[in-house]
């Protein structure tokens, strides 16, 4: 059991340079900060463009304009604004790199070359650094230089959206940053492996992942099937299922209930008894698993009107005690009030009046709690503070400002 004590955080004392933009890479830095790392966001003078994402047509809208995506992905970070094209700013970055443990970069490879920010450029400056690279499509190959977003690299290219469509329908939909945030967990794992390597050998290293590889990994079952020539059948719409016992049904209160009776060998009988349909057990069309699949449409015809007679709540009360897996198609409006989500440690209170509650990263530790989030930094909010930590004098800082190193 999780006796979540407030013990020392596992990443306390580590300095992370978040030289990245938008979501997957910065979200990995967030998870490191949650567990104690000191994350310094190195931003261009006009800031990470993700500061403006909330204006996107595909982002949620509310009555008042809260910049919640930035609040989420900028939490617990400090910001220094540096114009990396400026030589003096570049010298500041080198000093930051010297005392950092981890550096996260997601520039496309050509920009890294231009800015001399590849691992081979950085390693001489700090050979103990864990350099973490995120790309859209990998470090080599015909598309390595292409900018990748989660909707293109993670969802589109990997085959997920094609798999997620109903027969003859348009491709499935992904949500803003959905693949980015899943990819962030891979980056965290890669970084922790890198730290382990450093502990074992005393040497830094390059670690990384790509949005494309993460999409393929998530879609791994279908992709592994494709590798042996097995093709995913198009998903039939809920009224024409291939298996009526793993299907969607609309309930009386116009919600969708998802029946997931994978072990129908064990569960079909108690299910029929519970719904008062012993006749289905006697029906030769539904006598065993193979026949239930063969006659899936017939079985659906029996079940659909029945599911429409009770509310979701009533179904849950009836089926849950039997161990029959069902799921509601949750609506976010309900999820944020879901008692179980609180128990699972999914949401956390913040000290940030703009967003009093936030979404925790999904890692739970018995020995430490994630840090409480405050407001994310303004562009360059901590520039002076960070420079002083690097032993820059007031005079030097003033000179840097004048030189345009901060934009």
């Amino acid at each position: 059991m999780s006796n979540e004590t407030g013990g020392p955080l596992p990443l306390a004392g580590l300095v992370v340079l978040d030289v990245s933009s938008f979501i997957a890479a910065p979200a990995a830095a967030v998870a490191l900060a949650d567990f104690g790392a000191d994350v310094i966001k190195v931003e261009p003078p006009d800031g990470d463009p993700h500061r403006q994402s909330y204006n996107s047509a595909n982002y949620p809208r509310g009555d008042k304009q809260v910049n919640f995506p930035w609040q989420l992905d900028g939490r617990l970070k400090r910001s220094i604004a540096l114009d990396l094209k400026n030589d003096q700013a570049r010298a500041v970055l080198a000093r930051l790199i010297k005392r950092a443990d981890i550096m996260i970069v997601n520039f496309p490879p050509p920009a890294r070359e231009r800015l001399r920010l590849r691992w081979e450029d950085i390693e001489p400056v700090n050979p103990r650094l864990v350099y973490c690279s995120l790309t859209g499509y990998g470090e080599t190959g015909p598309d390595r230089d292409r900018a990748g977003f989660d909707v293109t690299a993670y969802f589109g290219r990997s085959g997920i959206l094609d798999s997620a469509r109903y027969e003859d329908g348009p491709p499935g939909l992904s949500l803003p940053a959905q693949g980015d945030r899943a990819t962030a967990m891979t980056l965290v794992a890669a970084i922790l492996l890198g730290l382990r390597h450093r502990d074992q050998t005393g040497k830094g290293c390059w670690v990384g992942t790509s949005l494309y590889a993460n999409g393929v990994w998530a879609n791994g079952t279908s992709a592994a099937g494709a590798l042996v020539g097995a093709k995913l059948l198009p998903r039939q719409s809920p009224d024409k299922p291939r298996n009526a016992l793993t299907n969607l049904y609309r309930t009386k209160d116009d919600r969708w209930l998802q029946l997931i009776m994978v072990r129908d060998d064990r569960l079909f009988q108690p299910f029929c008894r519970a719904i008062g349909r012993d006749d289905l057990l006697a029906d030769p069309r539904f006598a065993d698993r193979e026949r239930r699949k063969e006659y899936a449409i017939d079985l659906h015809r029996e079940l659909a009107p029945m599911f429409a007679e009770k509310t979701y709540e009533e179904w849950e009360r009836l089926l849950s005690p039997l161990g029959i897996p069902i799921g509601v198609i949750g609506r976010l409006a309900d999820v944020i009030e879901d008692d179980q989500a609180q128990h699972a440690g999914i949401f956390a209170d913040t000290t940030n009046p703009e967003i009093p509650r936030t979404v925790n990263n999904p890692i739970r530790l018995g020995f430490a709690r994630p840090r409480t989030a405050g407001p994310p930094p303004k562009i360059g909010e901590h520039s002076d503070q960070i420079l002083r930590e690097l032993a820059y004098s007031d005079g030097e800082i003033a000179a840097l400002k004048k030189s345009g190193a901060f934009g």
Partner: protein
């Protein structure tokens, strides 16, 4: 590449879990060198049969889901309801570093496999728990699957629908595999903690938590009262520059232009519609939004005239961001899928290629996949390694506690 040992070499992992998310995390640890022992009941992990049991799985002669989720593991069969088997498991726990468990909490209590129990046997053990819905609360005992806990309960499927349409459809095990990476991260955090303090610990994650993390942007939106408007179908998008279009050869192409100010002119050039650049109807972003259906109609007619390959080159030449909607069967032959390390070779005769886990490091390569174990293939070897005598092993076998 291989001058160093794999980063997890020397670690022993007990995979006491079934189906996909938790076993997939064990796969990743095995890929990086851990010795993974799969502890199965007499009937074996039901994932051995899922390809046949689930209608949503592509069928094949090769049991590819099982091969993928069990590569490089050894298998021991223990009937944990029998006290002799449970005692043998303690011997394994005493010599292991990590235990991965995804039994629902009541089963853990019944089998004395909660963290409190294993901690007494091995205080340095890292106990990694996967649940559907968390460790406490009204639904903690409910079995969770990725379709229910990760996708449905989290609000993902409701949000992934076109206006008026049915909920979105998750691909098989899609949320499970994403969750596996969070579980791996949790275990690696615990290894750091153990190195610093010498102590084992409990770590874990839930499918529901991972589903909500992945849709964190819209979940955070909901927390401040901001919601996604229903997604209009492709012929009346909110933004015509962030929309999908069908090409002449019946494929789909996805425009994902975020920085519309910069890319509007290059897009018009790529589409050979230069007159649109300064067309007052579309010249500024606000106008393009207002007239998005009108603009989508123009783009849709244009994209339908030429095949995907033409558009791919034309857009790439002008650095316009877009993606193709690949079909899963396109991925194995995609050179870039090999370049990014997603598709790798195996040592499995009837499944020569598989998917590597998405972590890349400069100092080591993931282990090559060898065939997944037969049920109980390594039972005797594993018990002998744990210090049981040949007689003890024979007695266990005879009692039916082990196979």
């Amino acid at each position: 590449m291989s001058e160093y040992a794999l980063p997890l070499a020397g670690l022993r992992v007990l995979d006491i879990s079934s189906f996909i998310a938790a076993p997939a995390a064990a796969v990743v640890l095995g890929d990086w060198g851990a010795d993974v022992i799969k502890v199965e009941g007499p009937e074996g992990d039901p994932n051995r049969r899922i390809m046949h049991d689930s209608s949503n799985y592509p069928k094949s002669e090769v049991n590819y889901p099982w091969e993928m989720d069990s590569r490089n593991k050894r298998s021991i069969v223990l009937d944990l309801k029998k006290p002799e088997a449970r005692a043998a498991l303690d011997r394994l726990i005493a010599t292991s570093d990590v235990l991965i468990c995804n039994f629902p909490p009541p089963v853990r209590d019944k089998l004395r496999l909660a963290y409190e129990h294993t901690k007494k046997v091995n205080p340095k053990l890292i106990y990694a728990s996967l649940t559907g819905y968390g460790e406490t609360g009204p639904d903690r005992d409910r079995p969770g699957f990725d379709a229910t806990a990760y996708f449905a309960r989290s609000g993902l499927l409701d949000a992934q629908r076109y206006e008026g349409g049915p909920p979105g459809v998750p691909g098989p095990a899609q949320g499970d595999r994403a969750t596996a990476m969070a579980l791996v991260s949790a275990i690696l955090m615990a290894l750091i903690h153990r190195m610093k303090t010498g102590e084992g610990s409990w770590v874990g994650t839930s499918l529901l938590g991972n589903g909500l993390w992945s849709c964190g942007v819209i979940a955070q939106g909901a927390l401040v009262g901001a919601f996604l408007p229903p997604r209009p179908p492709p012929d009346r998008p909110r933004s015509a520059l962030g929309n999908i279009y069908r090409t002449a050869d019946d494929r789909w192409l996805q425009l994902t232009i975020v920085r519309t100010d910069k890319l509007w002119a290059p897009l018009c050039q790529a589409l050979e519609l230069p007159e649109l650049i300064d067309d007052p109807r579309f010249a500024v972003e606000a106008e393009r939004r207002t007239r998005s259906a009108e603009l989508a109609a123009i783009l849709s007619t244009t994209f339908a005239k030429k095949p995907y390959e033409h558009w791919r080159k034309a857009l790439a030449a002008r650095e316009v961001t877009f993606g193709v909607i690949s079909r899963p069967q396109d991925v194995p032959d995609d050179e870039q899928a090999v370049a990014c390390g997603a598709v790798v070779e195996t040592a499995i005769a009837n499944m020569p290629r598989t998917l590597s886990n998405p972590i890349r490091v400069s100092f080591a390569e993931q282990r090559k996949a060898h065939p997944a174990p037969a049920l109980g293939e390594h039972s005797e070897q594993i018990l002998r390694d744990a210090g049981l005598s040949a007689d003890e092993v024979a007695a266990l076998r005879q009692s039916g506690a082990m196979r």
